[in-house]
């Protein structure tokens, strides 16, 4: 435990009140009773929060970070209990305090900002009522509660607070709801605010505004903050002190910047290395690095092409094989050294445009009052082209129309206007056999790894399905192919007999990649393919995608809201806002020299980007 803290309590006369920890968690253990026996969710956790200090707990899902924080406010789920250790709030052990005492503390001593602003406000009550409820519960409503409510909301940064208080949650956007929740959390001036992933559900620019505001408010009020987040960059930027949790234990804790710059524990090192917000360049596979080294040495590097017999019906042609095409451009040594795709299709040449989108527009009819409908342009005059073997990222916040573009590129949605050319052929006009062939060459990977695999199909059937649909091979050769595909995505072959519900999110996403690869496609459209994954798993999947691109010459259209991920995987970026393209350039250019205000705003909002230099 922290030495100066115990020193402070030992000499109360000499200590500033400041030096008594506000919240001290000692050797905390939390156990959940489940049908499969007790699970120790948290073991030996310890952390100290001084008054006015911001402490961040960082960890991946299931690391016990939220559980620890919820224990501090007595909100563990009914099957969980504190099975050991102490939670000292202001010197008082509240780990096993009575329900009555905890309720006394909640609100006016310990406040809470929950994670999901969409579900944490009661939709049938006005915002003002919900704030007043908090004030009343803590006896702070006073004579003029309406004014107080407006004041609290205004503090949280809601414009025109008095009128806003009369509105219902559905009239608020996500960011405003989160502001309202912050207002509720801070309404009673707690001395400690627990913020559980307060901005994970929000767009980056909104995230930044909200965190800035939270920072300002808590430092004005002198509130200590316990920030729970999965984002190391964000934690390091917002907190003085970091606590890194892994598998229910604290593996490292200390000053934020020190941990970030000099991580000691191997897990923290792993985390720092793979945090996308801290990455500064595109991923490179071992192969590419070797190629670079070889190119520097002036050697010829013939690539072993993957002539595997199971790539049925696709006699590998060497036409597109251009090994070591290394015109060493000094400005971009990394890019130039990426080996040309060992194209399996004829005419496959790096640089040739495979997917071209021209003046794409999609209008949705929104149902209005009295059966009238209004037009809504989800995608407005979007054009871009993707060279073969490269990655094009489409970046934008929610509602920017990026996913609609992906749907149209997959020919799952017809554009209102404009054209999509795949390998020079208009996708929209494809019918019957031609469309069937197109399906074989363009594959999607979706965001939600829990929804994209049929729960009734085992992994073998899942990966075999595309081969079956396209009547490729017999059952023997298909099984061989499935084994190879599993190997390609680094999953053991024994996974074949498992069902999706037995796999983690990252594993499911790898299975989805294997399924997409089964037909040897040219283009893979990744719609937020890594957004739902934990940082380390995300890095793993991104690396896999990158290696596959180099091995198979794949072209990616990468839809994402996360610019940090873009830097790791993309060659070109198209930034979309409200259905329009606001900026399009190479990744390096966008990151080093963003032209548009919106792009700068997005870049600026990447947490922790400036901390590692």
């Amino acid at each position: 435990m922290s030495n100066h803290a115990t020193g402070g309590t030992a000499n109360p006369g000499a200590a500033r009140t400041d030096d008594v920890p506000l919240l001290e968690i000692r050797d905390l253990a939390i156990t959940f009773e489940t049908s499969n026996g007790p699970i120790n969710a948290v073991r030996n956790a310890h952390l100290t929060i001084m008054p006015g200090e911001t402490v961040a707990i960082v960890g991946e899902s299931g690391s016990g970070k939220s559980t620890t924080a919820l224990a501090a406010i007595g909100l563990l789920p009914s099957n969980g209990r504190v099975s050991g250790g102490q939670i000292l709030f202001d010197g008082e052990d509240i780990a096993n305090a009575s329900e009555k005492r905890i309720i006394e503390l909640r609100g006016n001593s310990i406040g809470m900002v929950p994670q999901d602003p969409m579900s944490n406000l009661n939709p049938v009550w006005k915002i003002g009522f919900q704030v007043k409820e908090t004030l009343k519960a803590n006896g702070l409503a006073g004579a003029n509660s309406k004014e107080r409510v407006a004041e609290v909301l205004a503090e949280a940064g809601l414009p025109d607070a008095a009128n806003r208080a009369k509105q219902y949650p559905h009239e608020f956007s996500g960011g405003m709801r989160q502001r309202a929740l912050i207002a509720i959390g801070l309404a009673c001036r707690p001395r400690l605010l627990i913020a559980d992933e307060p901005t994970s559900a929000l767009d980056v620019t909104v995230q930044r505004q909200i965190l800035d505001h939270l920072d300002r408010m808590t430092s004005e009020l002198g509130t200590a903050v316990l920030l729970i987040t999965h984002d190391l960059g964000l934690a390091a930027e917002r907190a003085e002190k970091l606590v890194v949790m892994y598998k229910g234990q604290v593996v490292e804790s200390g000053p934020a910047l020190e941990i970030l710059r000099n991580p000691q524990h191997p897990y923290t090192q792993r985390l720092v290395n793979s945090a996308p917000s801290l990455a500064s360049r595109r991923l490179q596979s071992q192969k590419a690095k070797d190629a670079l080294a070889a190119a520097v040495a002036g050697l010829d590097t013939p690539l072993d092409d993957e002539n595997d017999p199971a790539h049925v019906g696709k006699a590998p042609t060497d036409a597109g094989l251009a090994p070591s095409s290394v015109p060493a451009a000094p400005a971009q040594p990394v890019r130039a050294a990426r080996p040309a795709p060992n194209g399996e299709r004829k005419g496959a040449q790096a640089g040739e445009t495979i997917l071209e989108v021209k003046n794409l527009t999609r209008v949705f009819k929104l149902r209005g009052a009295l059966g009238k409908s209004t037009d809504f342009k989800a995608v407005d005059d979007v054009s871009f082209s993707v060279p073969r073997g490269t990655t094009m990222a489409i970046v934008g916040e929610s509602g920017s129309g990026k996913s609609t573009v992906a749907q149209m590129a997959l020919s799952l949605l017809a554009p209102t206007e404009g054209s999509i050319l795949f390998d020079g052929v208009e996708v929209n006009s494809l019918k019957g056999k031609a469309l069937f062939d197109f399906r074989r060459r363009v594959q999607p990977i979706f965001q939600d790894p829990y929804g994209s695999l049929d729960p009734m199909f085992n992994i073998f059937r899942t990966i075999e399905e595309p081969l079956k649909i396209h009547k490729i091979g017999d059952s023997k050769s298909r099984e061989k192919k499935v084994r190879e595909l599993l190997d390609q995505v680094s999953m053991p072959a024994s996974t074949m007999h498992r069902f999706p519900n037995e796999l983690s999110g990252g594993q499911r996403q790898r299975i989805a990649i294997a399924r997409a690869l089964a037909l040897n496609p040219d283009v893979i459209i990744c719609d937020e393919a890594v957004s739902a994954l934990d940082v380390l798993v995300q890095a793993q999947v991104l690396n896999l995608l990158n290696e596959l691109q180099e091995d198979l010459g794949l072209t990616y259209l990468f839809i994402t809201h996360d610019l940090a991920v873009v830097r790791q995987i993309a060659d070109h970026v198209t930034v979309m806002q409200k259905g329009r393209v606001v900026e399009a350039a190479s990744t390096d250019e966008v990151f080093s020299n963003p032209r548009q205000v919106y792009t700068q705003e997005l870049l600026n909002a990447i947490p922790g980007a400036t901390l590692l230099v």
Binding site: S2, Q209, A236, P255, H265, L412, Q447, R515
Partner: protein
């Protein structure tokens, strides 16, 4: 509505690129590092290769076989099925050899439940009546599944006018009370003159399908926009094949639950119709007919009515219990791992 929202980012404001430096504390903060041996670092996201693979059905089965509700109902249903298939193993007395000598006689050796007014053995009739009741229940359920399932799946999956037409059609049939509708149907000349198990089944299917159609439609709508359906369409699977291969298998769980519960209610409906004299013909032995025949004597010889009624109740109850147990085992919320 959208104009009520305040823009989150005010883009008219010039952006000053803030280089945020993070916070440093004036306090001394100890840098703690956990000893490595305490939390061994696992490989990222490795697969547990030791656990046995589990499908939805395998998982449900593992769940079910520990549930007393399921065990009891399954045993009862097996018993009922065996009785229906091989009744002569259970009753040695011919249920149709009735002598008026025995009219309304009490129980005696070889005739444990006594005799009916016509002098037939009650126990034997109860055993032999199982087949007709169960046959009606099973056939009706199958018919309802085929008709209602197809209608519901098409309506839910394709939506649009198909949905509108089929859903309204189902509503019309839903609005007619089953018994009332069946009474009218069974009075039609074509039905009245050819009364058999089949006429009862057809009547019950006609008035029973909307319930399954509704359940199917709801389950299909829930699944039709799932990512895995979109993914298989992007693989080149046709729309109809996606329905058959992905949507329907994923919608089966609630349908099975409802079907097993309604199997019981169809047996009751058959008994009701037979009791009213418009169900199975008198030549077919069934619990409903026996209950109807025993009704006038209910005060002086209640046993004659009691035994077929008890058999009916136990059969229906076991199907409903099975449905309940299945619902618990197939509940998707309970399957989160």
């Amino acid at each position: 509505m959208s104009e009520k929202l305040t823009p989150e980012t005010d883009l008219t404001k010039p952006v000053t690129p803030v280089s945020r430096q993070g916070k440093t504390s004036s306090r001394v903060i100890e840098h703690f590092v956990a000893p490595l041996e305490e939390t061994p670092l696992a490989a990222i996201d490795n697969v547990d290769e030791t656990a046995a693979p589990l499908s939805l059905w395998a998982d449900a089965w593992r769940n079910l076989r520990r549930q007393p509700l399921f065990i009891i109902s399954a045993l009862l249903i097996v018993l009922v099925l065996v009785v229906a298939f091989v009744p002569h193993l259970f009753a040695s007395v011919d249920p149709t050899s009735c002598t008026l000598n025995d009219s309304s006689e009490g129980a005696r050796a070889g005739h444990p439940f006594g005799f009916t007014l016509q002098g037939c053995d009650v126990y034997s009739r109860m055993i032999y009546g199982t087949r007709a009741s169960l046959l009606v229940g099973v056939l009706t359920t199958l018919g309802v599944l085929v008709v209602g399932g197809t209608m519901g799946a098409l309506a839910g999956y394709y939506g649009g006018w198909i949905d509108t037409v089929l859903a309204r059609l189902a509503d019309i049939f839903f609005a007619l009370p089953l018994i009332l509708g069946a009474i009218v149907m069974m009075q039609l000349p074509a039905f009245r003159d050819n009364r058999s198990v089949w006429t009862v089944v057809i009547t019950l299917v006609i008035f029973g399908w909307p319930q399954i159609a509704r359940i199917t439609r709801g389950a299909v709508i829930e699944n039709r926009n799932a990512d895995f359906v979109t993914a298989s369409k992007a693989l080149g699977l046709s729309r109809f094949n996606a329905l058959v291969r992905h949507v329907i298998p994923n919608s089966l769980a609630p349908i099975i639950v409802v079907a097993s519960i309604s199997l019981g209610t169809f047996i009751v409906a058959e008994a009701t119709l037979s009791f009213l004299g418009i169900g199975l013909p008198d030549t077919v032995m069934s619990w409903g007919n026996d209950i109807a025949a025993a009704q006038p004597q209910v005060r002086n010889n209640p046993g004659v009515l009691l035994w077929p009624a008890a058999a009916l109740s136990v059969t229906v109850l076991s199907f409903i219990m099975l449905g309940d147990a299945l619902r618990d085992a197939l509940d998707p919320k309970a399957r989160k791992r």
